[in-house]
């Protein structure tokens, strides 16, 4: 399965969730933020040639590929477009999981992203970003735990379908 975490830029809230999912960060918020400082995709500035494309973050222990994608302010439109693409190519929508991390984006986080990415003051911007992540870290933890449960549930349903005993409910 492919898991896509999305936020405005794909490099802040989505990167935190992806890092948490992949085990690059863990533990209490203060410790997680220290680990986040070493995670290269957080507040990463992608080359213009690849801007907008999904960023591959890694594979989790279950072999699921984890990506982040930027959706600007279109948190509903972008997933709809991706699912539409899958439908016209007849790819089952259960093959991917789209996870909205935009809801964790606070005003302070937006400020940090602006200072770091738009003004170019990396050090100051990242200090603000780390502080914002620390304050909302519990939300990320809960969401990623739920995502992992959803993956397990989808895999179980898939296995049941393979054996012919599962229901055909679309997730």
């Amino acid at each position: 399965m492919k898991v896509f975490y999305y936020c405005c830029s794909g490099i802040h809230a989505a990167a935190v969730a992806a890092a948490l999912h992949l085990g690059h960060i863990s533990g209490p918020p203060e410790e997680a933020v220290r680990e986040l400082e070493r995670f290269k995709y957080f507040d990463y500035h992608p080359p213009s040639a690849v801007r907008g494309t999904p960023l591959f973050m890694g594979s989790d222990t279950g072999g699921n590929q984890v990506y982040t994608i930027p959706v600007d302010r279109e948190r509903f439109l972008a997933p709809k477009a991706i699912r539409g693409l899958m439908r016209i190519f007849k790819i089952p929508v259960e093959e991917i999981l789209l996870v909205d991390t935009l809801k964790h984006t606070t005003t302070v986080m937006k400020l940090g992203a602006f200072v770091s990415q738009k003004i170019g003051l990396k050090v100051a911007g990242r200090r603000i970003l780390y502080w914002a992540v620390e304050k909302t870290f519990d939300r990320y933890t809960r969401q990623v735990e739920q995502v992992k449960k959803d993956i397990l549930s989808l895999e179980t349903q898939g296995a049941l379908k393979m054996t012919g005993s599962g229901n055909n409910k679309e997730v």
Binding site: K2, Q65, I69, P70, V71, L85, I88
Partner: protein, 165 residues
Amino acid sequence: MKILYHCYGGSHSSVTAAAIHLGMLPSYRVPTAKEFMQVPYFDVQLQEEHGEFKFMGQDEFENDIYIMGRRNLGPLLQPLLEGVADILAISRSELLLVDSLPSVNNLMRIGGFLSRRMGWVLLGRPLVILGTQAAYWDFVNVVQTVKHVKVPYHGSLGILKGATP
């Protein structure tokens, strides 16, 4: 192959380009207002439908033609969908994304805003039709480039970005 014409609202420029592509609108003269209104989805798409692939028809080479309103996703749509397509092992030669927004003029913008956003159809629709008629040859040019240049060589040439007459 699937060809997607996309613009801000999926109501005017992408619909016009797709209709020219499918022969619903002529490519040798500027259509009348009545002809525009006979095109499916012209000046009717609602905000909640944005992001959906709307099937317009199949061209003479059996390519499926779609339109989409992609709102503020703008320049992110192409890299996003191409990137996801790559991840899902969809061949690049099976998908062509065409941005029809660069051909849009101010009359179309104002008319489109009044008709679609404000709901003032009586005022906005005549303006958007006038604007579309004024920019019509740009749309024809986009479609001709897609049909005669991009589609045959799509695999090696990449993605068309707007009208460059």
